[in-house]
């Protein structure tokens, strides 16, 4: 069994090639830095099975961030390398390709984006290129699968070229110049609509208004379609389910099993939000309150990712993000974090320094609410009017800015400037979008639901054992005096560590005023991330980093809670 590694510059289509070769779905999108870790898959070649590895993109074999380090590690373990090259940008892509060819490994080159090269009038003499590089070169269109079979067929022709020895960078560029002159012809290219759009969305004067419109549009789509899904699909489904649950309730009769499965009946009926049973609230919260928004959010996110708009947004936000010790690329972890903080934290790997990664991760954990939580905030504060929802997000925005400014001052270390390639706009491929939404929604269902059940079980157990009551009493002075919330809120804050959405739900039976709900839900974001995020933070920042981040979060939570109390409830 051979280990075959896919190497190439960022955003050239390595992950799409990987999916084609292995049949496994991995996240692909139209910006550099999508893949920050490796994925493994298998492929059969005749009787042999081979391991295929998708590596993060890199411009050279000298890494300049964590993701590129991973790419180098993968390269060093490779028995065979498929170098994926962007045919529309041959010259620059050949730099890494030549470096790899100098490193004494069998290589095959996939000349990807062949369709785009043809459309933009770039002619490449493939046979000539093979002779120049002395390895097989196969034109591919990974998106449609064209050329992939040929690529597989020619894998065993992979060659280690006669070694020219390691060139210096300058000598390599001279060699690349020769190759490109010999193999490539570029006919004149007309400006297209996409070029005009691209410039309009990246220039300050037109870019900012466009960004505002795009954001409002996105928010409108996510909430609008989410509400529609609930009203038309999920609520009717639960109405069908209610008689079943009621029948079960009366069959079980009162007792511990009823408590756990159905929960408390409110006015003799099941209240899906407040009953707190596994088969009532445990099903309703994830499926009818959160899932619809998760679906619409991920659909919109996929369009953002695949169109290529995110790097433009990163450019527009660069100036502001510099004040927080980040640069524009920080937009990407934040955006992903709005879905779920875990991939957000991982995406911070593409930032260059430890200081930037720490700031991005901490800001995510304290001020970027994930979709599961957002959905609950909408669900619970919605009835009181948009004013209160805005208060929560306004407060979080203020926390984001303030924490960014403070962390930038406080932390030693560098914050280098942005240096980001902007991909061309591409039309999102519907199948890719669908698959991506399916994969992420599936991930949510698999990971969130067991935790929700666990959370509800823990709530029921602690409640039955009287622990929640005790905690409430114990913390009541602090929670009451400092935050102006009833002591019972402590229980929700504890459960928030397991699942934020469930914790928000637990606030409902307490009969809080809308102002108190605003304070409690804001705090639920600020004070701690959930376990899943905690675990990746540990992995990415190490124990010391995590302790530092946690201390910062605790201080912020105390401060924010107190300030909001004064602002909303008075002294």
């Amino acid at each position: 069994m051979k280990k075959i590694v896919l190497m190439g510059n960022p955003n050239v289509g390595k992950s799409v090639v990987f999916s084609r070769l292995t049949g496994a779905t991995v996240i692909t999108s139209n910006y550099p830095g999508t893949t920050v870790d490796f994925s493994r898959g298998r492929m059969c070649l005749g009787k042999d099975r081979h391991e295929i590895v998708d590596a993060p993109g890199t411009y050279s074999l000298d890494p300049s961030n964590r993701a590129e380090e991973v790419a180098l590690e993968m390269f060093q373990e490779a028995d065979l390398v498929i170098v994926v090259v962007d045919a529309t940008n041959l010259e620059r892509n050949l730099f890494l390709a030549l470096q790899i060819l100098e490193a004494d490994r069998p290589v095959v080159v996939a000349l990807n984006m062949w369709d785009e090269a043809q459309h933009s009038g770039i002619l490449i003499d493939v046979e000539r290129l093979e002779r120049e590089l002395q390895v097989p070169v196969i034109p591919t269109v990974a998106l449609s699968g064209e050329g992939i079979r040929e690529l597989v067929r020619r894998l065993d022709e992979a060659l280690t070229p006669r070694r020219p020895g390691r060139l210096t960078d300058d000598a390599r560029w001279v060699r690349i110049g020769e190759i490109v002159r010999n193999v490539q012809q570029v006919t004149h290219r007309h400006r297209t609509l996409s070029d005009t759009l691209s410039e309009a969305s990246i220039r300050p004067l037109t870019g900012f208004p466009i960004a505002v419109l795009v954001m409002i549009g996105a928010l409108w789509l996510v909430t609008g379609i989410g509400e529609l899904l609930i009203a038309l699909v999920f609520d009717p489904l639960f109405e069908l389910y209610t008689p079943v649950a009621m029948a079960l309730s009366s069959w079980l009769g009162p007792g511990i099993l009823h408590e756990v499965l159905i929960g408390t009946l409110i006015d003799g009926r099941i209240d899906y939000v407040q009953s707190m049973g596994l088969l009532t609230t445990g099903l309703y919260v994830p499926f009818a309150m959160v899932l619809p928004y998760i679906i619409t959010f991920y659909a919109v996110l996929a369009v953002f990712e695949d169109s290529g708009y995110l790097p433009r947004l990163a450019t527009l936000f660069d100036t502001i993000f510099h004040r927080f010790g980040l640069h524009g690329f920080g937009v990407i972890p934040i955006f992903l974090g709005l879905g779920c903080n875990v991939p957000g934290v991982l995406a911070a790997r593409s930032l260059e320094t430890g200081k930037q990664r720490f700031i991005a991760t901490t800001l995510l954990a304290i001020s970027v609410p994930c979709m599961a939580k957002n959905a609950m905030v909408f669900g619970i504060l919605g009835p009181y009017g948009p004013r209160y929802i805005l208060m929560v997000f306004g407060a979080l925005a203020v926390v984001f800015v303030a924490a960014g400014l403070v962390l930038n001052r406080l932390l030693p270390g560098d914050s280098p400037e942005i240096c980001l390639e902007i991909p061309p706009y591409r039309r999102p491929d519907p199948m890719t979008v669908l698959k991506k939404v399916w994969m992420r929604v599936g991930g949510f269902v698999r990971e969130a639901i067991p935790f929700l059940f666990l959370g509800i079980l823990v709530v029921n157990l602690l409640h039955a054992l009287g622990v929640l009551g005790m905690l409430g009493l114990l913390f009541a002075p602090v929670v009451q005096a400092w935050l102006g919330l009833p002591g019972e809120t402590t229980a929700a804050l504890v459960i928030g560590f397991l699942r934020k959405d469930l914790a928000v739900g637990m606030l409902l039976p307490l009969g809080l005023t809308p102002e108190q709900l605003v304070i409690a839900t804001t705090l639920l974001t600020v004070y701690f991330p959930c376990v899943g995020t905690f675990a990746v933070m540990f992995k990415e920042l190490g124990a010391r980093g995590l302790v530092k981040a946690t201390a910062f979060m605790a201080c912020t939570a105390v401060l924010v809670g107190g300030l909001m109390r004064i602002a909303l409830l008075g002294l």
Partner: protein, 78 residues
């Protein structure tokens, strides 16, 4: 006319004369295709010392102002 990249006006084309700055900086942007003799076009310049967007062989790249200020260019007489 020799000048620094950020001094160009939006839309101007220029040729890179040399890269100032440390070797790691030169290496990093060199890998992205910015070297001596390469033609660039200034696409956008952001306010308040913000980044600069240039086009190099049909691709746009966003660069911090400080980095861009290390790039010495010349505007060819037309």
């Amino acid at each position: 006319m020799e000048t620094l990249l950020p001094a160009l006006t939006t839309g101007t084309e220029a040729v890179i004369l040399r890269l100032a700055g440390g070797s790691s900086f030169r290496k990093k942007i060199g890998e992205m295709g910015l070297r001596e003799g390469v033609r660039v076009r200034l696409v956008a310049k952001h306010l308040l010392g913000g980044p600069i967007v240039i086009e190099v062989s049909g691709r746009e790249i966003t660069l911090g102002r400080g980095m861009a200020a290390q790039i010495v260019v010349t505007v060819p007489a037309t």
